[in-house]
């Protein structure tokens, strides 16, 4: 009689690394709109109009998702945004 197949168990690390993570920038009352646009162009190599679109989304809606993908890259982008003093966070997609 064959053994029942073991249910596949993904360990937590694999699940975290495979998950999609979002890089989110949040509004704050101090950073200038020109500065935020400038940082988006620098960090993400966006053309100016794309950077401005995200800046306006942060300004009017309180936040904008700038990038999504694997956790390692999301952490790198978040670190770069923090180095430019933007309020940025990582969020795991459901």
């Amino acid at each position: 009689m064959p053994l029942a197949a073991e249910p596949e168990q993904k360990n937590q690390t694999e699940d975290t690394l495979d998950s999609v993570w979002k890089v989110v920038v949040h509004n704050d009352p101090v950073n200038l709109m020109t500065y935020v646009t400038y940082v988006f162009e620098l960090v993400f190599q966006f053309p100016k109009d794309t950077a401005e679109k995200h800046m306006w989304e942060v300004h009017t809606k309180g936040r904008s998702i700038l990038w999504s993908g694997n956790r390692e890259e999301a952490e790198l982008y978040t670190q770069q945004l923090h180095s430019h003093l933007l309020l940025a966070s990582l969020e795991k997609s459901p």
């Binding site: 009352p29 101090v30 200038l32 053309p47 100016k48 670190q79 923090h82 003093l85 966070s89």
Partner: protein
């Protein structure tokens, strides 16, 4: 105070001010990174995740020291340029390769002033409504540094 910001043909920037105030104002406004006001610390070094405790712990251990060093280097560059400034009339010369440090150090100063003086969120749009004189002065400094910062960004844009 009269302030003039000029971009020179070589790409550097010259800030001219008719008083020595700007030099002292800037020196005082840069946050001391070794002894940060708690609200400034929260703002300059925010947690990267609202709920991933392991990520926040790793961030504190591995990322914050690098950010500290970066912010300190930016301040050191600005302080060195201020020390070289001509005293009267005050002219601050910012070499082109220092402009990035100035943009970021000015931002540190603006965030530090806002956080440490507990300015309300919409106070920069309506600073005349502030009743506390120290907060009013902090708001004026934030606006002054914003003028300089914007001028530097315009000369330094990547595109």
């Amino acid at each position: 105070m009269t302030l003039a910001i000029k971009t020179l043909p070589c790409g550097s920037t010259q800030i001219s001010c008719d008083t020595a105030e700007l030099h002292h104002l800037l020196q005082e406004s840069l946050p001391c990174l070794q002894e940060l006001h708690p609200e400034t610390e929260k703002r300059l070094f925010p947690h990267p995740s609202p709920d991933a405790i392991d990520l926040n712990q790793d961030w504190r251990a591995f990322v914050l020291p690098d950010l500290h060093a970066l912010f300190q280097a930016q301040q050191d560059t600005v302080r060195a340029d201020l020390r070289r400034a001509n005293p009267t009339p005050q002219t601050i010369h910012i070499p082109q390769h220092h402009i990035d440090a100035w943009i970021h150090a000015l931002n540190q100063a603006r965030l530090h002033l806002f956080s440490s003086y507990g300015l309300p969120p919409d106070s920069l749009q309506n600073s005349q409504n502030l009743s506390n004189p120290e907060q009013k002065t902090a708001a004026l400094k934030i606006h002054l540094y914003a003028l300089i910062q914007e001028s530097l960004i315009k000369t330094h844009r990547p595109s």
